[in-house]
Amino acid sequence: MVMKSAVEDDDAGWGLGIPEKMKNNANWVDITHEFKGACKELNLGELLHDKLFGLFEAMSAIEMMDPKMDAGMIGNQVNRKVLNFEQAIKEGAIKVKDLSLPELIGIIDTCFCCLITWLEGHSLAQTVFTCLYIHNPDLIEEPALKAFALGILKVCDIAREKVNKAAVFEEASDFPKCVREDFQAMTYGFKMANNVTDLRVTGMLKDVEDELQRKVKSTRSRQGEQRNPDVELEHQQCLALFNRIKFTRLLLTALIAFTKKETSSVSEAQKLVAQAADLLSAIHSSIQHGIQSQNDTTKGDHPIMMGFEPLVNQRLLPPTFPRYAKIIKREDMVAYFSKLIERIKTVCDVINTTNLHGILDFFCEFSEQSPCVLSRSLLQTTFLIDNKKVFGTHLMQDMIKDALRYFVSPPVLSYKCCLFNNHQAKDYIDSFVTHCSRPFCSLIQIHGHNRARQRDKLGHILEEFATLQDEAEKVDAALHSLLMKLEPQRQHLACLGTWILYHNLRIMIQYLLSGFELELYSMHEYYYIYWYLSEFLYAWLMSTLSRADSSQMAEERILEEQLKGRSSKKIKKKKKVRPLSKEINMSQAYQNMCAGMYKTMVALDMDGKVHKPQFELDSEQVRYEHRFAPFNSVVTPPPVHYIQFKEMSDLKKYNPPPGSADLYLAASKHFQQAKLILENVPSPDPEVNRILKVAKPNIVVMKLLAGGHKKETKVLPEFDFSTHKYFPVVKIM
């Protein structure tokens, strides 16, 4: 295509050809008048264009002078000179030495705000690098500012490296701009302080800190002394600066600790961020000591601080850069930092979880808080250090074997079983476990992505788990026939298969449920989603869990018998809590919640209280098939097709077919059942309480509806997902 080749040509030689033409004005002939006149002859709506250039291509053009699309526009509306660092120094617009304490505090606080704005997904060029000092710390003569600038650069560099390594950001979602942008920024020559070692930077910060501490001490009030207000002010300011420098150092040191390979460094990092958190209230209360921007509010929301030029990188941005970054306010800075530190502390806790299922749950729970990309990335890189070992110490294969033992206690992994030392059996299980390790690493990595991407990726990973399922069944069969020869009284049936199936079902359930959280479903779709969950997935999950449970019991019985044979001592038959009992109970509760919602939706539909679209281009079947499309790659459990669903959920098979009142009553019973189960959960967690808060009002509403309450109203009911992200409180208006 003409256009394409033109672009490529230009890319190769731009900056040479055209500027020359620009200078050579003689070449250009003004045709404004004729051109405009000729345009007027065109018909309304007529496009004059090349054969190879059509509407489709035209659509992708950026519109000049549109503030949303035209990044270059803002720069041209400002009536001030945009100076870079060197120019600003030359013009005397910026100080590089003898900065006052309020100036330093103001600059540092603004930098913190920029850092946060960057972490929140804006480009480095529009945030941290709007601070001119960061562009070249070598030119700064003031030691505190120089050390700080280098510290911030290091923080950015490590954060960026972590995020890149963890690869849990997406082009089109929350972190892309900064990651893509700072790559671009790098090519434009930003230095990330790579010429200075981490140790040197923390050392410089420490030196500044010590110096400031001396000043703080020398200006401290002594007993019986008449306090000079100036000295007191200086004391306050020195303390404010001291706290900021120390915070920077602690943050940097903590991030450096995360780059080390030993597990101990993670707890080290946890200590460091905790120390940093202790400084935050002091930082918050001293914000007013910093200079404020010389605010020129008439020019919009970009106040100008000394040392900052929001537009300095404007020309480095891609042409259609979405918007210019609104830097967060200083007042919100401390709150953000304390949340970030809380998240980092939580991340550090992961190393205390040793079981693979526990880790998976940890990742799920952490992801539910929609954490920032930095903490997500830190969690990923802490979990798998350089993609080899879990927490840098355990082999993924061993983790998987432990998880299998914990879940189904397969004979092949039991020390007491002859298969354990059988050469062939070992080969089977080892190769299976090796094959598992990549999909499970991916599964854990998926939970590092943002919620929307997770769903997408869960749909895809089902394919890999389907392959594993197949292999698990084959290995089970091979091990079983081996075991039958060696120890005929034992079985090895569907052990590995049960375990993989369990994960399969969890993924499928999560896939469907997350659709509620992401508000993907329309009200008229709820009924088949909840049907699929309650009648199918949770039913399967529960039978899988009970199979695992009985497999555990069988294994325990064998162990007990062996022990009995050896020692005459009578083993106390204590009633042990089954390890899977909580999960079985929870699944039962979820199933009842889903069943309740399903019946509610069907009954509401009967009463004409569900808005249904006029299907023109699609049909319910098309939607249904789209919703469950990823399940088609799964063999067990087999996908339920629309026709099957319609047959299975047909109410006419009951005699007499239930009316809406019957269904409301049934729904109410399901919610009641869920409530009963949840109230008997020992040591309920927040999730249990959240579901209870939905179940209780729904019991009442369903009873009311069953009694004919507001039967005639045509106002559509409301579904309030604010209490629980998967189950709404039904509200009848």
Binding site: D10, F35, A38
Partner: protein
Amino acid sequence: MATMIEENGPSSHEQPEVSSSSQARQKLEGLLNKNMRIRMTDGRTLVGLFLCTDRDCNVILGSAQEFLKSTDTFSQGEPRVLGLAMIPGHHVVSIEVEADSLDDAQGFGGNH
């Protein structure tokens, strides 16, 4: 862009003089894929290949580069690559083409 597209419906306007409008069309077609320099109301100049226009003089340039106004000292003369860009007609201040490209485009520049 949207406005241009929306207006692209079947035209209800009757064509006043077939000859004059077809002449204008010919003129404009002669300029297609030629380098064009457009100055905008905010002082910036875009240079790129002329690809498309309409009655309101909205112009689309391909592989466009943006030059800042000459008064701006910062990174002056260094272009920024924009790619495909549409300049709304009411922001077009002046349009220039390279002299040698006028040889192919009859009726432009030569007779004034």
